[in-house]
């Protein structure tokens, strides 16, 4: 408990005034919690970024740009990263590749290679189906500000806002920076869901280009590993040799078959000796007895619940 208090101390409350709408004509104060960003794995930009908790569900970059502009003036706000955008990328490597790369040491990627990867990833993205994504209620975001000084200024401004009661307002002066929600948003989503066939085809092809390349690389890598001793002089044993590598499915199938054969063999030697029959009978009797006990337990349980034995009137 002490731990949470400690963190809660660091959070400052940033109140945002939310204007009413025609369907709910009341204004409300939304409280966003703000603190210096201190992730478990530090990054270079930590000192000039802020961690936000409990952001509104319809948050976008322009929304927060507006808020921070009201707080500390223009030019301080650089960018914002929402919770759902920081998700780790998918494992789209072929099964063989994941296995093999685990065996080798992590290769350092060069700049160019990194760029290549990003481009590839971009290409295999399917066409977007939402004009704008909603954040889950009370989710988090990290705001990147211009410099360290701005962080302090923002925190200071927040305390000032509490005194002056002049809260920054939400969604003002947005103009056409963000796509509208509401019916236009849903209609556009439904239209976008009927995806363009060509674009999709292209993305799928891009995906498989990358996928196949990786697979090939993996095969090559494993071939190399088979032959090369590592630093300590050991040679890694990997599946596949002179013959083509067996598919994992086939291996499983074979295992299942073996298991089946075993059980069949076992079952054939049952009910053969008299002691087996006797034991079987005993077991059956025991089952019956236990079932009777269970019944009695059930009836007792029913008795506990009143009214189970009273005919309805």
């Amino acid at each position: 408990m002490a731990h949470t208090e400690e963190t809660s101390d660091q959070f400052a409350i940033l109140p945002i005034e939310i204007p009413g709408t025609s369907s709910y004509p009341e204004t409300a104060i939304h409280e966003v919690r703000v603190r210096r960003n201190a992730p478990k794995i530090p990054t270079a930009n930590d000192s000039r970024s802020l961690f936000l908790k409990n952001i509104p569900a319809d948050s976008t970059g322009p929304h927060f740009r507006g808020v921070f502009t009201e707080l500390v003036g223009a030019g301080r706000f650089e960018s914002i990263t929402f919770e759902d955008e920081t998700k780790t990328s998918l494992t789209i490597d072929p099964a063989a590749a994941t296995k093999v790369t685990a065996l080798t040491r992590k290769r350092k990627h060069g700049e160019a290679e990194e760029e290549e990867r990003a481009r590839e990833e971009q290409a295999l993205q399917l066409p977007q189906i939402w004009s704008r994504r909603l954040q889950r209620s009370s989710s988090t975001a990290v705001v990147l500000l211009a410099d360290e000084k701005s962080v302090q200024q923002v925190l200071k401004a927040i305390t000032k806002v509490h005194k002056s009661k002049k809260y920054p307002s939400w969604g003002s002066n947005l103009a056409d920076e963000v796509p509208a929600l509401g019916s236009a948003w849903i209609a556009s989503h439904l239209q976008l869901s009927r995806v363009d066939k060509q674009a999709t085809q292209k993305a799928v092809h891009a995906f498989f280009n990358a996928f196949n390349r990786k697979e090939k690389e993996a095969v090559e890598l494993s071939k190399r590993l088979r032959n090369e001793p590592d630093d300590d002089g050991f040679v890694t044993v990997v599946r596949g040799g002179r013959v083509a590598p067996a598919s994992r499915n086939e291996a499983e199938e074979a295992k299942r078959k073996m298991y089946e054969r075993d059980t069949k063999k076992k079952s054939e030697t049952q009910d053969f000796y008299r002691f087996q029959l006797r034991e079987k009978r005993k077991a059956e009797q025991a089952v019956l007895l236990s079932r009777f006990e269970e019944d009695r337990r059930k009836v007792n349980a029913m008795r506990q619940q009143r009214g189970k034995f009273r005919p309805e009137t």
């Binding site: 949470t4 208090e5 963190t7 809660s8 939310i18 709408t21 369907s23 709910y24 409300a28 939304h30 409280e31 409990n54 509104p56 569900a57 319809d58 998918l90 494992t91 789209i92 490597d93 072929p94 099964a95 399917l126 066409p127 189906i129 909603l134 889950r136 209620s137 009370s138 969604g171 929600l181 509401g182 019916s183 236009a184 948003w185 849903i186 209609a187 989503h189 439904l190 239209q191 869901s193 009927r194 995806v195 066939k197 999709t200 995906f207 498989f208 996928f211 598919s247 499915n249 499983e252 009978r281 079932r291 019944d295 009836v299 349980a301 034995f309 009273r310 005919p311 309805e312 009137t313």
Partner: protein
């Protein structure tokens, strides 16, 4: 030698173990032993619960009986006086109207009336037998007073003379008891078992004086105990006055052997008074009159029989109590309006079966049987014996069956020469047999829970039992009847109408049942109230025949039959020539639905034969078919949808050189299994198309990549391939590639909408069996991350559901919908019920289908529903009764579940409840033959909140049903209250329509026309959309506010544009932590004390609602917070 020895030893071991004889281990059904024992244990418990404590509940009864006896004894006898004079004098003196049965004695009747002291007093019935149960409506203590033989003449059995004397006798006693005990008891008259011939005196002790009087009198009464009443005296006067009301019924009876029995055979006419005298030629028998007369002298004899049986067979009283409960739950009782088969008839039947009834005059049942076995045997007996068709005679060898034949049901006791079922009508006998059959089926059904339907569930609600109910209100019913049998006018009318309707319906109806209005007691100082002019009749359909529009009669060549047919149907009958060349008499009905045809037939037949005009016949019942306009055309629409699916399958299978072989195509939408609320409509009549989901399965192949994401991408590739091939092969097909609402991941990404130019639309998804293997591997891979494994598990469950369970489910439902006629419409109506109560977002359509299927497959205590109305109402009753906390629902549609499977489901339920007592995860357990684990159907809900709301709503509906006896306003069942929610989101239908229009058009192809009425949509087919806009909005809201709000909504009809929501009840004020999953604000009050506990937060409700208002935009018209 050695082998010989061994064999002998084996032989010896058998009798030593002895279990072979007791339980057959080899049998597959050895589990039956165990279920049977549950039933026995439960009935034991029931008997314990039901037995009343005589000392407590019926204290002071004996005392009252003694005082009563003294009072009657003190009545002064008087000599014969002519009847007119005696009546006039008596009525004037005592202000008591003598309850003469109709018709009243003629003024010039020559015979004289007298009063003599009773020859014998006796207490009979269930009070002495100690077989009363707690739940019976009223405790009646029957005391018979035997009129002395000297009062009667030989000829008194004719012309109602016995009954006049009897009425005078009881009135005379009433006068004296009133004088003596009028202060402590209320007196009234009643008809014994509502038999109009038998008025009796009913005494109800007044509660206040009960106590002191009882203590006063106790020493005196001790001395005067006599006969049977002393035997039963277990008097206790120390306890507090009881709440249970009881009445003492004083019944005059005849001495044994008063009248010769051969004069009172059912065929003889003993009642020549009244109108029959005019027409001497028609001299039909008066079986009812005769039986009533004969029964008058059998009270003591039956008492002896029952007491004897009780000593012979120790389980007899318990079997009687069970029978009483069973009958009572089905609305049966001794009185005429309750069917005329009550506790006494049950007891007498078992007693007689214990003595005779078997082969060669031996006992049919053994006295060694236990109470449950006796009960089962009795029900079995009732279910197999049709008393209407052939009179049943105990020890049949001695009596000639024909001599006891009557038009009604007969169960003849040869010793007392009495038809025990004389109070029963043909229809109540049929109903009883139906109930008995249902119970026998239940007791034979291994899978079903036997106890509750047999004894606990009340099954007498007419709306749940009958498919159609009508009321006949006509002055004819109240008119004194011409029949000499003295059944009363309502009964006579019903008999006639029953005969006609039975014939009119033929095989369309399983049962035609009449309900006569019950007779109540009346005060001694007034005469009996007039007969009512109303009877109800109800019909149980034969669902396959009732909807038949044509009634086929005999061929024209058979003139006699044809004439009879014409005579019966009147001008409706016509001669028609059919396709096969036959020329038949027939009647065509203009209505289409079964209920309407039933109405039309009833109206026509009653008008033709009984002159019941339209205004006198009112159809009652629930009128449920009108709620969602179920018509006979719907089936055709569903069939058309299924045919169009076959076309698609044909088209896809005919594609050449597919890279993989197609194994199977299955349609999985409700529309493809006769189960969607709206029948599928072909063509582009609405602004949108609803495609039918189709799953495509390839033969197993090793060509798929071994990576889940890659598989999804490969599926898109396949879909695009199909798109090319299909459009190339058929120019009537348009296709659209659609995206699921998901990012690239391990789950299905896309589907292909295939639209035929005739309007049939399908949504094709591909299944790859490799997925399951890989997911399974990931789940069992311990080296993987925790959340990866969880996600894999969830995805596997979803994919198993959609690609494995759902096709089987669709297949099952579609099969049963074609087999069980009313199932499809019932499912649709029940879905509408869930929709209108905004529960369909929580309870999936498939789950609802399983509920209804269960009601059809295990209909106990009824039989399989034969119409939408009964199916629907029984489903509600099932929902109200199902205790999902403790019981799994097991629907064994394919009859493949063994008892081991069942107990596995039960124990897994127990396990889950132990692990998760608050039911945060799995609330309902629903196992079927296809999904035996019990979790498949309910993985995605309902939550405990929604499930208990469902139960509550069903309970309320059942209560409404119980309160409204014969007719029910269906709107009341479907009306939902909006006050139960915290927040209401009113959607704007206009905005909704606009979205639908926008979504169904291609933004790229937009063109502007000069003419206002020719916009870009004119003449174009709408495009398929992924989901309904409200679904999209609701899904997004659900995703965003999963922990904050619980949303409730119904279907997507325009008129139901309100989403209800309640704040998650778990959200209390709590300390701030960084991981809180809801939109919060600091609680104001804590600003003052800045202590450690300072940072307390709660849900920021206005901010949340404003967020939703912004998300919904113009789609949400208004957000209303309910107080």
């Amino acid at each position: 030698m050695q082998s010989d020895f061994k064999r002998r030893k084996l032989d010896h071991s058998r009798p030593g173990l002895r279990h072979d004889a007791l339980i057959d281990f080899e049998s597959r059904s050895s589990a039956r032993v165990s279920t049977a024992s549950t039933f026995v244990l439960q009935t034991d418990e029931l008997l314990k619960e039901a037995k009343i404590d005589y000392g407590k509940a019926l204290k002071g009864v004996d005392d009252h009986l003694h005082r009563l006896k003294e009072a009657i004894d003190s009545a002064a006898p008087h000599d014969p006086v002519p009847i007119t004079e005696a009546t006039a004098k008596f009525e004037k003196k005592h202000r008591i109207v003598i309850p003469y049965p109709e018709p009243k004695p003629a003024k010039d009747a020559p015979y004289k009336l007298s009063f003599e002291k009773p020859a014998q007093y006796n207490v009979v019935g269930s009070y002495v037998a100690k077989s009363m149960v707690k739940t019976q409506g009223q405790f009646g203590i029957d005391m018979v007073v035997q009129m002395p033989k000297s009062m009667f003449q030989d000829k008194d059995y004719t012309s109602m003379r016995y009954f006049y004397r009897r009425a005078y006798y009881i009135a005379y006693i009433a006068a004296h008891v009133n004088k003596e005990l009028g202060a402590s008891m209320d007196l009234s008259f009643e008809c014994l078992n509502e038999n109009p011939l038998l008025p009796i005196l009913v005494l109800r002790p007044k509660p206040e004086e009960d106590d002191e009087k009882a203590t006063d009198k106790s020493p005196k009464s001790k001395s005067s105990k006599s006969g049977k009443s002393s035997k039963s005296s277990k008097s206790s006067k120390k306890k507090k006055s009881s709440k249970l009301p009881y009445v003492i019924r004083l019944i005059p009876c005849a001495p044994e052997g008063l009248f010769p029995k051969n004069k009172l055979l059912p065929t003889s006419n003993s009642n020549r008074s009244g109108e029959t005298e005019d027409k001497k030629t028609i001299q039909s028998g008066t079986p009812f009159y005769n039986s009533t007369l004969k029964a008058e002298e059998t009270f003591i004899s039956y008492l002896k029989l029952l007491t004897h049986t009780k000593t012979e067979c120790p389980a007899f009283p318990d079997a009687c109590a069970l029978g009483r409960i069973w009958l009572q739950q089905r609305g049966f009782g001794s009185s005429v309006s309750k069917g005329g088969f009550g506790h006494f008839e049950w007891a007498a039947m078992i007693a007689l079966l214990l003595q005779t009834g078997g082969r060669k005059g031996q006992a049919a049942l053994s006295t060694a049987l236990s109470s449950t076995e006796l009960f089962k045997a009795a029900v079995q007996f009732l279910s197999t014996t049709d008393f209407n068709k052939k009179p049943f005679v105990f020890a049949s060898s001695k009596t000639n069956v024909d001599s006891v034949k009557e038009s009604g049901p007969v169960m003849f006791d040869p010793i007392r020469e009495l038809n025990i079922l004389s109070k029963m009508s043909p229809w109540s006998a049929s109903l009883l047999q139906t109930h008995a059959k249902s119970t026998t089926d239940l007791l034979a059904d291994e899978a079903a829970d036997k106890f509750e339907p047999t004894f606990i569930i009340k099954t007498d609600a007419p709306l749940q039992t009958f498919d159609a109910i009508f009321e006949i209100k006509s002055p004819d019913i109240a008119k004194p009847s011409k029949s000499a049998d003295r059944r009363g006018p309502a009964w006579d009318f019903s008999l006639e109408a029953h005969k006609i309707l039975k014939k009119a319906y033929g095989d369309r109806a399983q049962l035609v049942h009449f309900q006569q209005p019950p007779k109540t007691s009346w005060s001694v100082s007034s005469s009996q109230s007039a007969e009512t002019d109303k009877v109800y009749f109800s019909v149980v359909f034969d669902s396959t025949h009732m909807s038949r529009q044509m009634e086929h009669g005999p061929p024209a060549e058979e003139q006699k039959d044809a004439a009879r047919f014409r005579q019966f149907w009147g001008d409706k009958a016509e001669l028609r020539r059919f396709k096969d060349g036959s020329i038949l008499e027939c009647v065509e009905w203009s209505s289409k639905g079964s209920v309407e045809i039933c109405e039309e037939i009833a109206a026509h037949a009653l008008k033709r034969h009984l002159k019941i005009v339209k205004e006198e016949l009112t159809p009652l019942g629930a009128g449920l078919a009108s709620v969602i306009s179920l018509t006979h055309l719907d089936k055709e629409a569903f069939d058309a949808a299924r045919r169009s699916f076959q076309t698609l399958e044909h088209d896809i299978r005919n594609l050449d050189e597919l890279p993989l072989q197609i194994r199977q195509l299955s349609a999985v939408s409700p529309a493809a299994r006769y189960a969607s609320i709206e029948p599928p409509i072909m063509g582009f009549h609405q602004g949108s198309i609803q495609p039918i989901d189709v799953n495509l399965y390839f033969e197993a192949s090793s060509k798929w990549p071994e990576n889940l994401v890659a598989i999804q991408e490969a599926k898109i590739e396949f879909l695009l391939d199909f798109n090319k091939r299909l459009t190339a092969a058929k120019d009537t097909i348009t296709t659209y590639l659609g995206r699921e609402n998901r990012d690239i991941g391990i789950e299905n990404l896309a589907y292909l909408d295939i639209v035929y130019d005739n309007g049939a639309a399908f949504r094709l998804r591909i299944h790859c069996d490799m997925e399951q293997t890989i997911l399974q591997r990931q789940i069992s891979n311990k080296t993987l991350d925790h959340h990866v494994r969880d996600e894999s598990e969830a995805v596997l469950a979803r994919s198993n559901w959609f690609f494995t369970a759902l096709p089987l489910h669709s297949q099952t439902i579609a099969t049963f919908c074609t087999r069980l006629h009313p199932l499809s419409q019932t499912i649709r109506l029940v879905k509408h019920w869930f929709n209108s109560h905004k529960l369909s977002s929580h309870i999936s359509e498939e789950l609802i289908e399983i509920f209804v299927l269960h009601v059809f497959l295990q209909p106990y205590p009824w039989r399989t529903p034969t119409s939408v109305a009964t199916g629907f109402l029984r489903t509600l009753s099932f929902l109200s009764r199902w205790d999902w906390r403790d019981e799994p629902l097991i629907v064994d549609s394919a009859e493949t579940l063994t008892s081991d499977d069942r107990s596995a489901v039960r124990s897994s339920l127990e396990l889950w409840r132990k692990r998760d007592p608050n039911m945060n995860h799995t609330v309902m357990f629903v196992a079927t033959s296809n999904a035996p684990s019990g979790l498949e159907y309910t993985r995605s809900g309902p939550s405990k909140l929604a499930a208990s709301r469902m139960t509550r709503l069903a309970k309320a509906a059942c209560k409404l049903l119980k309160d409204s006896e014969y007719s029910l306003d269906p709107a009341a069942l479907f009306d939902t209250s909006l006050t139960d929610y915290d927040v209401l989101f009113h959607l704007s239908p206009k905005a909704l329509r606009a979205i639908l229009r926008d979504a169904a058009t291609d933004p790229a192809a937009r063109r502007v026309s000069h003419f206002k009425n020719l916009d870009d949509r004119t003449g174009r087919a709408p495009l398929p959309v992924r989901a309904h806009p409200v679904d999209v909005l609701a899904q997004e809201l659900q995703r965003v506010y999963d922990d904050t709000l619980v949303f409730f909504r119904g279907g997507n009809d325009d008129d139901d544009a309100v989403i209800g929501a309640i704040w998650n009840p778990k959200l209390q004020q709590q300390k701030f932590r960084a991981g809180l999953p809801y939109n919060f604000k600091k609680v104001d009050g804590d600003e003052g004390d800045e202590g450690d506990a300072g940072d307390v937060v709660e849900v920021n409700r206005p901010a949340v609602l404003l967020e939703i208002a912004r998300i919904g935009g113009e789609l949400i018209k208004n957000i209303e917070e309910v107080e």
